[in-house]
Amino acid sequence: MRLINRKPGRAASAALVLLPFAAVALTYVIASDIRLAANPADKLLPAPSHILETAQRLFTEGDKRSGRILLWHDTLASLRRLAFGVGIASLSALVLGMAIGLLPYARRTFNSFIGVVSMVPPLAVLPILFIIFGLGETAKVALIVVGITPVMIRDLANRTLEIPHEMIVKAETLGASSLVIALRVVLPQILPRLISSIRLALGPAWLFLIAAEAIAAELGLGYRIFLVRRYLAMDVILTYVIWITLLAFVMDYALRLLSRRLFPWTGASL
């Protein structure tokens, strides 16, 4: 039988899913063992038990100086920045994307400009952003916004353009003004796409957040990772990396769920 037609059974499936995770875990354990055998104080690849201890400590014990549990404060600070950044980006992308997709005048005005702007590497302008926006929250949020908005605008503009023209014409024959078309025909059809656009943008958004926090912050997940990098505290770094991954996963999942809840008509079919 051809390989493309061979399907694993139930048990095999479960085993296969776990396989790469197990392989990575095993590789880590072995490598860690080797290094720890050579130098018990090695910080590079701490033993899993050690990471677990650290994780437990980070999640439950307060900072010596202030008594605050830093991990939660870091998480809160980072999520706030992320929320603001993504929120602002989404809103502007929605407005501009719909305008570009609907209005020939807006399309002319912004299409090339956004094409060019989206090619500017945001990290390269990071120094400029810091100088314009200062080192406070604004600059971090601004980096996220600058980083993800152009792509989101293009995405939403394209989706707006993809709405069958027949639908717009039909709305016109029902006497709808431009505003009514935007609000009642285009917006509801674009919103589900906004959510998938946000889902796509979250990856880069995390990236920009971490980059911004690495350079100037006093709290935040990225800040902590880059701070303890100085002491090579891999146990902390790994805990934070896994935590961020988990957060990213949950957000992605929540958005998918939200989309299905909010827009029942997208899933509906005969």
Partner: protein
């Protein structure tokens, strides 16, 4: 500038600058600011270069910086700055570390990891001069973020690093690491100061007085050896991610000017001019003074006795003992 009552200082983590954090949290700054009817906000930033850039762009009235970076960024950028506090000079805090049994003269052909254009770079240049080498004789100079210096040293392809404390002491914990040169070999050349905007200072003497007063009160406390002094040191130690012992060993490599008198003597000393000329030469050589700079003398530096080095018509960096003298005289 004009008269105002609210001021902002930026500082970053470094052994000799830890007191700034303490001054803020302990309320010493507020006490002195209140005395002069002003407020001074001391803000910690975690990126050193960014803090100087922000100061240069006008976001802060003062910033902690080395003599070298003050000359290149704010002074080079036309922001007239005055060294209000000359806090210490590096006396071993910056070091060149190699792997294995390698001497300074053996650096030829090797690649060196350091934060380019920083005082580490300057230290390297001075070290190479002593063994008649130049940077061109090295294999390469690889710009490496200070945050990654410890990890970098652990990788095989890194042979030489130049960096500063507390990274130096951490790296030296590695049995294979050897220090071949440090800033105690060029005492007094890497100077850590608080620079403030000259115009702001001129229009607001109260600002200079309050900051100077707060600083030397803290210095006295640190040098006192009393339990209160140790408590203050412990707090600084913790803020810099180490313990009291660790912090004390860092301080040992830092020539702090605990008394205003010591600071004043150092600032008025003759060697400062030599140092600044050497620094200017280094910066010019690296192109850091900007392509508008026709010579190392592009930026002028003024000294307490009224002398200047560099272009006297473009003085943008000033060493001024007016306020420290008030501290010496106890008139603050």
């Amino acid at each position: 500038a004009e008269q105002k009552t609210d001021f902002k200082l930026a500082w970053t983590i470094y052994a000799g600058w830890m007191p700034w954090g303490y001054i803020e949290t302990s309320g010493i700054m507020d006490k002195w600011a209140d005395k002069y009817g002003i407020t001074v906000d001391i803000v910690q930033l975690n990126d050193y270069v960014e803090s100087i850039n922000q100061y240069t762009a006008g976001a802060f009235d003062g910033v902690t910086a080395t003599n070298m970076d003050a000359l290149s960024i704010p002074a080079g950028g036309g922001v007239d700055s005055t060294a209000l506090i000359v806090g210490d000079y590096s006396n071993g805090n910056d070091a060149i570390i190699v792997k294995g049994d390698v001497g300074l003269a053996d650096l030829a052909g090797k690649s060196v990891n350091l934060v380019e254009l920083s005082v580490s770079h300057y230290l390297l240049a001075r070290a190479l001069e002593q063994v008649d080498l130049s940077e061109a004789d090295l294999g390469a100079v690889i710009n490496t973020s200070d945050a990654d210096m410890i990890a970098a040293f652990q990788t095989d392809d890194v042979e030489v690093v130049v960096t500063w404390n507390p990274l130096v002491s951490t790296i030296l914990e590695d049995p294979g690491a050897t220090k071949v040169y440090d800033s105690s070999d060029i005492p007094g050349e890497i100077i850590d100061c608080l620079f403030v905007n000259t115009d702001t200072l001129a229009d607001n003497p109260a600002f200079g007085k309050a900051v100077t007063g707060a600083w030397y009160e803290t210095m006295a406390l640190m040098a006192s050896g009393t339990p209160e002094g140790d408590a203050a040191l412990s707090e600084m130690a913790e803020a810099s991610g180490t313990d009291l012992e660790g912090y004390k060993s860092q301080l040992a490599a830092t020539a702090m000017f605990y008394t205003p008198k010591a600071a004043m003597e150092f600032t008025e000393g003759a060697s400062l001019q030599t140092t600044m000329v050497s620094v200017a030469n280094f910066l010019f050589d690296k192109g850091i003074l900007g392509e508008g700079a026709p010579s190392p003398d592009y930026v002028g530096v003024a000294y307490p006795d009224g002398a200047t080095t560099g272009d006297a018509g473009n003085v943008n960096l000033r060493y001024d003992t007016t306020y420290v003298a008030m501290a010496v005289d106890g008139t603050l």
